[in-house]
């Protein structure tokens, strides 16, 4: 790499540092509360049998959810990217949509449908079915509503993979399984691990599923402390333990990732491979996808519709008030924009100047991600009311909170698209005398656009569903679809909550579907272009034509 002009580097570092410090506000608050609580009391809480039991049950859940998400997502990615699966385009959108369903809605629907003597049991006419409460229920609903994090990252990595390498491996006589293990998997691993990171930390922080399924985790315990004993010190200790867990998981991921440079993906050299003929596999593949989407989409939508019909019969409107919709959309769009912009300097530091500074910034940025929303929200309440009262309970503060909460989703997406950009492109631009700003704008930004879009899309989706921070930090009187659902369900107006729930799912799905369709089309176009217009670059990556002839 060319030596950097120190001033530019400094600007980038300052920006990244600012983001890291902002993201670390919740930890600061937790440390302070723990300190206030006292050392020995904190140690007592941290080492009590109850806490250790919770640690075990929390880890068990996070590991199980992550593993099953990978197991579900990787085959779907393969089916929708590399095979002649019937309805491939539709499946590739439908399989991501469960992400639009909040776990508190999805788990509630599961209980209604699959619970003991629920709709499913009465449909089959059986007295009782195995209980879905506890570990299995929490595991199933977290997996079904968060596996798309892995699917999204793996799919986009798979679309970028150069099929030439696989073809070469097959040419050399390796079986397709062996080729997958030795050629494809190593290239997918960074994408799998960054998706898995999102899933595992998300499952540490989730309250909706574990509360509904009555499974004890750290997050549930923190809520319990807040609700019952109102002991902020003990909750702070548990929160800090979650932060330590997050940093541990992150360090593991960083270590895995260190190897990814060996498999750096260059430029946009991939072309469309011949789709794999599924043959007889088609039936089980379709059956599996059908079962998955039934559980993760049809069941929640069915139960929502059931309550919607009942609500409408009792005089509730089908479609919620416009103000709820516009409030939800506008804060989510703002949060998506702010989080994505804040993610750029962090991702660039991590990618371009790896080292201790970058590591610290990355860990700080992620630190709040595994914390339950209520902890982050209370930290910002304390900070806002006492340090910046003029901004407290403003929309800006709420957007700031969302950005801190979901920053890692944007960082992950931007980072993986930075990974695709060979530094030589920027270097060439600089050597040709372009300013760094011009280089960023003309060279880097266009290449980053898919990553920025994906990051913004994820943050948008997650913000739409967010509840605890919205309840505590939104301007007084500001309601969103999520708070409306919460308000109605908590007082037993289930029919009234169905309209907002349906609107929330539909409005979150729409941008997701658009984003996915566009990325697919762009993918297709880019592949077309590389074949035609960039023979020079192709020559480096593509398989020689005689290899292709043999297929």
């Amino acid at each position: 790499m060319t030596p950097r002009q120190p001033s530019d580097d400094r600007a980038l570092r300052i920006a990244a540092l600012a983001v890291g410090v902002a993201a670390a506000l919740p930890i600061g608050y937790l440390v302070w509360r723990t300190f206030e609580y006292g050392f020995s009391a904190s140690v007592d809480v941290a080492t009590s049998g109850r806490t250790l039991g919770l640690l075990w049950s929390t880890l068990k859940l996070a590991v199980a959810v992550t593993a099953s998400s990978v197991v579900i997502a990787v085959p779907i990615a393969w089916l929708t990217v590399r095979t002649n699966l019937p309805g491939r385009q539709v499946w590739s959108i439908v399989t991501v949509l469960p992400l639009a369903i909040p776990t508190y809605v999805g788990s509630w629907a599961f209980i209604g449908a699959l619970g003991p003597r629920g709709m499913f049991a009465s449909l089959l006419g059986i007295e009782s079915i195995p209980s879905i409460y506890g570990f299995w229920g929490a595991w199933a609903s977290l997996t079904l509503f968060s596996y798309p994090y892995v699917l999204l990252t793996v799919r986009s990595a798979w679309m970028r993979l150069d099929p030439g390498l696989e073809e070469a491996s097959r040419m050399l006589g390796r079986s397709s399984w062996h080729t997958f293990l030795k050629v494809v998997w190593p290239q997918l691993r960074p994408a799998v691990s960054s998706g898995a990171l999102l899933v595992s930390l998300y499952s540490l922080s989730d309250f909706g599923a574990v509360a509904m399924m009555r499974y004890d985790t750290f997050t549930r315990e923190i809520y319990l402390q807040y609700r019952g004993a109102l002991e902020r010190g003990a909750s702070a200790v548990l929160g800090l333990m979650l932060v330590v867990l997050t940093v541990t998981v992150l360090t593991g991921e960083q270590r895995l990732r260190r190897r990814e440079d060996l498999h750096r993906l260059h430029g946009s050299g991939a072309r469309t491979p011949q789709p794999v003929e599924l043959g007889r596999l088609r039936v089980p593949a379709l059956a599996g996808l059908g079962l998955l989407t039934t559980l993760a989409l049809a069941v929640p939508l069915g139960v929502i519709s059931y309550w919607l019909v009942r609500g409408v019969r009792a005089g509730e409107p089908v479609w919620p008030a416009w103000s709820l919709i516009s409030n939800s959309l506008s804060v989510s769009l703002l949060a998506a924009a702010v989080a994505t912009i804040a993610a750029v300097p962090v991702a660039m530091i991590i990618r371009r100047s790896p080292g201790r500074f970058a590591n610290v910034i990355e860990r700080l940025s992620w630190s709040g991600y595994a914390l339950p929303g209520i902890v982050v929200a209370l930290a910002l309440v304390y900070f806002g009311a006492n340090a910046v009262p003029w901004a407290y309970q403003s929309l800006a503060m709420l957007v700031f909170a969302y950005s801190i909460l979901f920053l890692p989703q944007a960082i992950g997406a931007v980072r993986s698209s930075l990974l695709q950009v060979t530094p030589s492109l920027e270097e060439a631009s600089l050597l040709l005398g372009a300013q760094r700003m011009t280089t960023f704008r003309k060279v880097l930004l266009p290449l980053l656009r898919p990553g920025l879009g994906a990051g913004a899309g994820l943050v948008f989706l997650t913000t739409m569903k967010e509840l605890p921070a919205t309840l505590l930090l939104a301007p007084t009187g500001f309601s969103t679809l999520a708070t409306r659902i919460w308000n109605s369900t908590s007082e037993g107006f289930l029919g009234r909550s169905a309209g907002p729930a349906l609107a929330l799912v539909l409005l979150s799905s729409l941008p997701m579907a658009i984003l996915l369709t566009r990325s697919q089309r762009q993918g297709a176009r880019r592949i077309g272009e590389t074949g035609r217009d960039q023979p020079a670059e192709n020559a480096k990556h593509d398989v020689p034509s005689e290899v292709r002839l043999t297929r």
Binding site: Y226, A229, L230, V381, Y392, R441, P468, G477, S490
Partner: protein
């Protein structure tokens, strides 16, 4: 980063402009901020009425009662809130013990029909009452199958058939009251025996009613008014309330109450708002729409509400309700949480 900077600054400017619009109403004398642990569907119409009547703007933040209390505690002196409206007396007791509430005028506290509905320090007041009851599945049980007293659910024949919400504020207030009525030892023994009956735990009241209706459990410990909402949406809902006789530990009346925040910027307007919530027509609105029990002398309860016509409270010290921590510790000890 020129291109990135443009959207950032416009975004922030947009957010701030909006924020100014949204918050510009706060702080002046003609507006009040209320933190409500009670749901929007239940109280907003009453608050709109009072805002009209007093010609003030009342901004309401809705959330969980405990979370709204935490909010007040974190905000401290800088709270924008003038009023706190809680689901149960326990959280009000905690706020009162912290010095977070202002004493109320006598003309306010004297309106309430029962001295037990006002805090011992005169700094919070009950707005409506809710009876603790049990609900039962009418297909599985008839009323005569139910025990004489609430405390008899320790009988092993109820094993696996009870639904409860040990993390719920109303339930915890009930246990705190039992501690006052029966003493800590007897309450602990009772809880231990109930836990041995393996009750099914739910997050709050509503899922308990759903579970009783579906037959997942046969009975549930709840507040009385949730049922009528289910019945309004579905007259065939197979669940009924059972009220224990006056004086039974199961016949507790819990209050939803409110108080004026110490750091409130216009405490007088806040008191007027409370006074309005106690006026006869608003009390009747709570009674007829939410099926709650009015607390002022003249107002009538919902006509179809069976068997409880008066607020007879078992005798115990309301100050005890603030000891939520003791209750939670006990629930943890016996394995209920």
């Amino acid at each position: 980063m020129a291109m990135a900077r443009v959207p950032l600054s416009t975004t922030l400017a947009g957010a701030c402009a909006l924020a100014v619009v949204v918050t510009s109403c706060g702080g002046d004398n003609n507006s009040l901020t209320l933190y409500s642990g009670r749901g929007e569907d239940l109280v907003q119409p009453a608050i709109d009425q009072c805002a009209d009547r007093l010609n003030v703007e009342i901004n309401v933040r809705y959330g969980d009662s405990a979370e709204m209390l935490l909010l007040l505690q974190e905000e401290g002196d800088n709270t924008p809130a003038a009023l706190y409206y809680s689901q149960g007396a326990g959280y009000l007791g905690i706020l009162s013990a912290d010095g977070g509430l202002l004493p109320l005028d006598e003309k306010l506290t004297s309106q309430v029909s029962d001295a037990n509905l006002v805090s011992p320090a005169n700094d919070w007041i009950g707005i409506t009452g809710r009876a603790r009851t049990i609900v039962y599945n009418t297909e599985a049980l008839s009323e005569s199958d139910l025990p004489e007293s609430f405390v008899d659910f320790t009988d092993p024949k109820w094993s696996g058939r009870i639904g409860w919400a040990p993390t719920n504020a109303s339930f915890q207030d009930h246990i705190t009251a039992l501690r006052g009525l029966l003493g800590d030892d007897a309450t602990r023994a009772w809880l231990t025996a109930i836990v041995e009956n393996e009750p099914v735990a739910y997050e709050k009241n509503t899922p308990i009613l759903e579970a009783v209706a579906s037959g997942e459990v046969d009975i549930g410990f709840v507040n009385h008014y949730y049922l009528y909402r289910f019945l309004a949406e579905d007259p065939d809902f197979p669940v009924a309330n059972h009220f224990f006789d006056d004086g039974d530990p199961g016949a507790l009346i819990n209050v939803a109450g409110a108080g004026v925040i110490t750091h409130s910027k216009n405490p007088d307007a806040a008191q007027e708002a409370l006074e309005c919530l106690l006026s006869a027509d608003i009390q009747e609105y709570f009674a007829s729409t939410n099926y709650e029990l009015p607390v002022v002398a003249g107002a009538e309860p919902w006509s179809e509400l069976p068997s409880i016509n008066s607020l007879t409270l078992p005798e115990f010290d309301l100050n005890l309700l603030a000891d939520l921590e003791g209750t939670v510790d006990m629930l943890v000890d016996v394995g209920a949480l």
